[in-house]
């Protein structure tokens, strides 16, 4: 258990890379990139977790009454999620243009940039 979250994060990253490398459809590849990114969420939050802790949000509990988990990693992950969504949007719009100009979204058939 003590290393499970870290292992899952690594697994997601490598799986995402595998998907990217073998993808035959660019939309699918962008999805795989999102999988890669989800590994960073898992790693960051796992790093900040504290056994028996609760969220450092004091609207419904008194400050100091319970141990809390690390707020920093949560803020980092929030930022990361926004970045992920925007990168996905941008890459998808590029895929749309690739489909228009190359008439395919299979990376194996895109062969204009070589050497």
């Amino acid at each position: 258990m003590s290393a499970a979250p870290y292992v899952v994060a690594g697994w997601l990253f490598l799986m995402g890379c595998y998907g990217l490398a073998t993808s035959r459809n660019l939309i699918h590849a962008v999805g795989c990139l999102a999988v890669c990114q989800s590994s960073t969420y898992v790693l960051l939050l796992a790093v900040g977790y504290r056994s028996g802790g609760t969220a450092p949000v004091f609207s419904d509990i008194a400050p100091g009454s319970r141990p809390v988990v690390d707020p920093i990693v949560q803020a980092l992950t929030l930022t990361d999620i926004v970045i992920g969504a925007t990168v996905t949007a941008l890459l998808l719009s590029l895929v749309i243009q690739v489909a228009k100009r190359h008439r395919t979204v299979d990376p194996d058939e895109l062969s204009e940039l070589r050497g």
Binding site: C17, L20, L94
Partner: protein, 604 residues
């Protein structure tokens, strides 16, 4: 207002300009939008210059804690911006180059998107904000955020000409590979945070000092992963594949920025992270870092040079020359000494001017003849003598002709690396410069035989027919700005080699940059520490000599090649190399993973 307080302004000025351009962009005519863009870029440049001038006299590294979260007893919860001379100098370089690119683009593009006259300048301003933020920040995660900002904007800028099939493909590859690099960096940041519980460069460095000894696997992995993302940006082999694809297709003003400074910022980031975080006790042993950076540097320089010589697509040629030079910079940094850093700093400054000028010249060719193909353009450049002169001067400067800044940088760096490296530096400069001169001789002088069948090209090669970027076919005449910008840039590259004050400044900057303890003291305790002074970069007889040798070699190589008949087929020994550069995302990802493994193995 103190120097420290201007630091955030350097970042937010272009951001605000971008917001203004987008907000008002629907009403603004194109002229007003472009003027506004230039104004904001110039504003940031002026601020950076003023701050640089103000720090020039003192040894301090002004640190601004954003939000006023100054540290107590060396700990803080905030983010710090550090205006040391290296960071501020790079911010200045970024801003000036952005200004040059915007000026060059002034009348460059075909009609801007309907009702979005301000989009291009706004994107460039955001690019500038990202790069300036990256140079100034003193926080690992904040560096990642600005890294992503420049990435995201750069992808959009690369694909700006959506009607061009290659542009969108190159931008997509660029986006995927660089995003993956960014996530790798973030994984590394997560590991370092788990290890030390801190995010600031200085804070992590401080925390690491608490557990001296040989680095454990965690630290090695953290360093490897963080540096990987930065080396992707820096186009180190084998993370370099995206660069040629992106550069070949991006609009010329964007190429100027990406080759001139964005790639170098990746190197800056890696060096910054090494010195502020890992150079102290409990960090990475210098020998390990040296070995890894040097090996990657040599690999990058050699591969970049080989690929550069093979190109007939002028933008790809220049792109691979950037890869080769990035390898040289990496070798210079690998020395891990002030002399190496100072040499690289001079080299980067000179290279930025020269490379941007060369791209600007190619942009003019693209406008005139709708091609950037060396063979198709054979002799057609005769009607553009000035462009030819600038292009030739750029080629000579790239080869290391004294007294250009590139020559000084090359001389100082090769001396710092020492030994066999001199030969490699001379060869790399000679071949990349020679490739540019060869292309220049064919295009602008019409030397050699005219290729019989220029339209044909083997399957493994990218030829250079392109849609023109300029509005409605070629312009009636070359706008003055398009010719002035490369001239000014080359003059600046010349000045880098000639102005003595700049050299002393760079020397001091390098001393401070490599001073781990001084950085920590300045950031965490506000104590200005005077680093041990070392001699600043300067001209030496052997440096001049080797520069001349490289230039002569380059010229000779170029002349020898153009006199021989143009070969239609690709030389057989290059085929495997070319096959590696397949333009396929999957291949690049595979190489990416292999590269992380290689880097980790070199460090461990």
């Amino acid at each position: 207002m103190s120097v420290a307080q201007t630091l955030p302004l350097i970042v937010i000025t272009p951001m605000f300009g971008a917001a203004l351009l987008v907000g008002a962009g629907r009403r603004l005519p194109r002229f007003a939008a472009e003027t506004l863009g230039c104004l904001f870029a110039a504003g940031a440049a002026v601020l950076a210059l003023l701050a640089l001038a103000a720090t020039g006299s003192s040894a301090g590294q002004p640190a601004e804690w954003v939000g006023g979260w100054r540290p107590h007893n060396g700990v803080s919860v905030g983010i710090v911006l550090v205006g040391d001379r290296t960071g501020l100098g790079l911010a200045t370089l970024v801003s000036l180059l952005v200004l040059a690119a915007l000026a060059y683009a002034w009348r460059y593009f075909a009609e801007p998107p309907r009702r979005h006259a301000g989009s291009f300048p706004a994107l460039v301003l955001l690019f500038q904000a990202g790069m300036c933020g990256f140079t100034l920040t003193g926080d690992l995660f904040n560096a990642f955020v600005f890294f992503e900002l420049m990435g995201v904007v750069a992808y959009a800028l690369t694909g700006y000409r959506v009607e061009e099939a290659r542009a969108v493909q190159g931008a997509l590859v660029f986006g995927v590979v660089n995003s993956l690099g960014g996530y790798t960096t973030l994984l590394g940041i997560g590991l370092l945070y788990a290890h030390t519980g801190e995010l600031g460069f200085a804070q992590i460095g401080n925390a690491l000092a608490g557990s001296p000894g040989t680095p454990d696997a965690l630290l090695i992995a953290g360093f490897t992963l963080v540096v990987t993302g930065l080396l992707v940006k820096a186009a180190a082999v084998p993370f370099h594949f995206w660069l040629a694809d992106a550069h070949a297709v991006a609009p010329t003003p964007v190429c100027m920025l990406m080759s001139g400074v964005m790639v170098e910022l990746g190197l800056y980031g890696a060096a910054r992270v090494y010195w502020t975080v890992f150079a102290g006790p409990g960090g990475m042993p210098a020998a390990d870092a040296h070995r890894a950076l040097l090996a990657l540097g040599v690999l990058t320089a050699v591969l970049g040079t080989l690929m550069c010589w093979q190109q007939r697509h002028l933008k790809r040629l220049l792109a691979y020359s950037t890869v080769a030079h990035a390898g040289l910079f990496l070798m210079g940094l690998a020395v891990l000494s002030p002399a190496g850093v100072g040499g690289v700093a001079v080299y980067v400054l000179g290279h930025a001017g020269v490379k941007a000028a060369l791209f600007a010249c190619v942009g003019i060719l693209l406008d005139r003849f709708a091609s950037v193909d060396e063979h198709q353009l054979h002799g057609r450049g005769r009607e553009l003598p000035w462009v030819g002169a600038l292009f030739g001067a750029g080629g000579l400067a790239l080869a290391g002709l004294p007294p250009f800044g590139t020559a000084l940088g090359k001389a100082v760096t090769e001396e710092a690396v020492g030994g066999w490296a001199t030969a490699l530096f001379v060869l790399v400069s000679a071949v990349t410069g020679g490739a540019v001169l060869r292309a220049g001789a064919r295009v602008f002088l019409g030397l050699g035989t005219r290729p019989a069948d220029a339209g044909r090209h083997p399957a493994d090669e990218t030829a250079g027919e392109e849609e023109p970027e300029t509005r409605g076919g070629p312009l009636s005449r070359i706008p003055d700005t398009m010719l002035t910008v490369p001239a000014v840039l080359l003059a600046a590259a010349l000045a880098v080699g000639l102005v003595p004050g700049l050299r002393t400044g760079i020397g001091q900057a390098a001393d401070a940059f490599t001073d781990h303890a001084g950085y920590l003291a300045a950031v965490l305790h506000g104590r200005a520490a005077e680093p041990v002074p070392t001699p600043p970069p300067h001209w030496t007889a052997s440096g001049v000599l080797w520069g001349l040798v490289a230039t002569a070699l380059a010229a000779g190589l170029a002349l020898w090649t153009v006199r021989r008949p143009v070969r239609d087929d690709v030389a057989r020994w290059t085929v495997p190399l070319r096959r590696m550069h397949s333009g396929h995302v999957g291949d690049y990802i595979a190489w990416f993973l292999a590269g992380v493994t290689l880097l980790g193995a070199l460090i461990a």
